[in-house]
């Protein structure tokens, strides 16, 4: 079962409705902050989306619409991927938008001290 391609319509519909995962997501009532959702990306795409000379795409300063479109295309399979499809599917539209806002707020160029304080 685990190896079957599971991008069925039901899942896609649930994700585009943006409710299925967040409804049951947590004991806490609030949704994910952009920071909370986006920090899951950093293990591959770099802290705050800063990464140089890598097979992974930098996310810092990425245009919001570009980020959302990419995630949607990963989720519906129209953009082929290794693991981004399943990962994108596991976040709601609202969460993807929050991530997009988070990364769009950073300058594309890594600042001299290496990171930006999120105090």
């Amino acid at each position: 079962m685990r190896t079957k391609r599971i991008f069925p319509l039901a899942l896609l519909a649930a994700v585009s409705a943006g409710s299925v995962f967040t409804a049951n997501a947590s004991e806490l009532s609030a949704g994910l902050t952009g920071q909370m959702a986006a920090q899951t990306c950093a293990g591959c795409h770099g802290t705050q989306g800063y990464i140089e000379d890598s097979a992974y795409v930098p996310l810092a300063g990425m245009d919001k619409e570009h980020f959302i479109t990419a995630m949607q295309m990963f989720a519906d399979g129209s953009r082929p991927s290794t693991l981004m499809g399943p990962l994108a599917l596991a976040f709601s539209d609202e969460e993807i938008e929050a991530m997009a806002d988070y990364f769009a707020a950073f300058p594309k160029e890594r600042p001299a001290k290496g990171f930006i304080s999120e105090e």
Partner: protein, 457 residues
């Protein structure tokens, strides 16, 4: 949560943070005002937590207490055995954490956590006070369940090393591999669940087989003797071994696949280059005779080997076991949202040592937990709401051939008080095009660098 917030808030208000004097030269002028987080262990979990806490809440003083002055990453370290990586490649400096982010270091070993007094005592005679302590001690090794090896030291003295926590073991295994007679037999014994790096023992078996094949050993064999009947990435790994190493799927493993998928497996004549003796086949190892290089199993007979890599059952790291943070399972129960110990207040346990529901014991999981805890500690120590968490894990592995990669990728959320997996597909699809496996291998190599930077860079 509100109770915890209030309690911590009051404590933070009244804190006298004695840490200022001992925490490796923090600015004394401010030390009395800043909350102090002590971090026991400078591995992936501890380092990530420390770095992200300094990004999210620079006014919190953070001190890592870690005996080693440089870190050796266990993730990807099996490639040292086969020479794709060197010890230098897996050795990482703490300089960026110290100089770029302002994390303080004490290179010493924590012996006692004085829970009531909010103090740590070290082997070197130091005392470190804390408002909250993060314990990220990794793993320890349990030799009580194997006949013939009394302890880690005894096993090592007999030449049987696990190589499951980086270190010199890797060079021992490398030397043992290189000394194998032509067309010899290597045995890899994965630990029972739960253990660090779920695909790792199987990747290692594949790497050894590939190395032997490249040496020109047509009939060398790597046998995996297992107490388990499945493992993370098994569906992809066994398919790869069938393609690469004349591996025939055991009858008992066929349930992992659909009929249609099974039809794509080749049947190989002759001895496989990698074999997997599952738990149901009696593969559990009961005794190792290191002198005669004999491995006995529960029900699959006795194996003569030229190289034995026994990875024993694991438990939480020593400091957690000795300070009442682990339960009868040998692992540390924690709150799924704050990772605060359910046994002691103001102590958080992250990484391999903690019980994190559906999350595996992996570097990425420890990294993800460290980031979430950084967010929560900021709220707990400076005021603010505990946040709804989301966690992620990605483990890359090689089939053996370094151009054939695979992965597991999962997202986790808290539901009904437990951390549960919420994604559907987690591996490459069974019918993925060949270039997808090659891309996964490319990403595996890129990940070693990218991930290390996110933790230590």
């Amino acid at each position: 949560m509100s109770k915890m917030n209030r309690r911590t808030f009051l404590k933070a208000l009244g804190a006298t943070v004695a840490a200022g004097s001992t925490a490796a030269g923090s600015a004394p002028l401010f030390a009395q005002k800043n909350p102090h987080v002590a971090v026991v262990g400078g591995g992936v979990g501890g380092a990530t937590l420390a770095k992200y806490l300094k990004i999210y809440a620079p006014s919190i003083d953070v001190t890592i207490i870690e005996p080693k002055t440089k870190y050796q990453r266990p993730y990807g370290s099996s490639e040292v055995i086969t020479g794709h990586e060197t010890m230098d490649d897996i050795t990482i400096s703490y300089d960026n954490l110290r100089d770029r982010y302002g994390v303080k270091f004490i290179h010493d070993t924590v012996t006692v956590i004085d829970h009531a007094g909010h103090k740590l005592h070290t082997a070197g005679g130091r005392t470190v006070s804390y408002d909250r302590v993060v314990v990220a001690p990794g793993i320890s090794f349990d030799y009580s369940q194997i006949e013939g090896l009394d302890s880690e030291a005894d096993a090592r003295a007999k030449g049987i090393v696990h190589g499951w926590d980086a270190g010199e073991d890797l060079l021992t295994l490398k030397a043992q591999l290189e000394a194998m007679p032509k067309n010899g037999t290597a045995i890899v014994v994965p630990p029972p669940n739960p253990y660090r790096c779920p695909p790792g023992p199987y990747e290692r078996a594949g790497l050894l087989a590939q190395w032997l094949e490249e040496r020109g050993d047509d009939a060398a064999k790597v046998i995996v003797l297992d107490s388990k009947n499945g493992f993370t990435t098994d569906v992809t790994m066994l398919q790869a071994w069938n393609r690469l190493y004349k591996f025939n799927l055991p009858e008992q493993a066929k349930g992992l696949y659909t009929e249609e998928q099974l039809a794509t497996f080749k049947h190989h004549e002759g001895e496989p280059k990698v074999d997997w003796i599952m738990g149901v086949m009696g593969g559990k190892v009961t005794r190792i005779d290191a002198e005669n290089m004999i491995v006995e199993t529960e029900g699959a007979g006795t194996f003569k080997a030229d190289m034995i890599n026994y990875i024993p059952p694991l438990k939480a790291g020593r400091v957690a076991l000795e300070n009442d943070l682990a339960d009868e399972t040998g692992w540390c129960p924690v709150d799924p949202i704050t990772f605060e110990s359910t046994r002691h207040a103001d102590v958080h346990v992250i990484g391999d040592a903690c019980i994190a529901g559906a999350m595996p014991k992996s570097g990425y999981a420890a990294n993800s937990q460290g980031k979430v805890l950084a967010v929560q500690l900021k709220a707990l120590l400076l005021g603010g709401e505990i946040q709804t968490p989301v966690y992620q894990n990605t483990c890359y592995a090689l089939a053996g051939n370094t151009d054939y990669g695979m992965f597991v990728a999962d997202v986790f959320r808290v539901k009904d008080g437990k951390i549960v997996r919420v994604d559907a597909q987690r591996y490459l699809p069974f019918d993925a095009e060949p270039h997808m496996f090659s891309m996964a291998a490319t990403y595996q190599q890129a990940w070693m660098k990218a991930f290390t930077k996110d933790v230590f860079g």
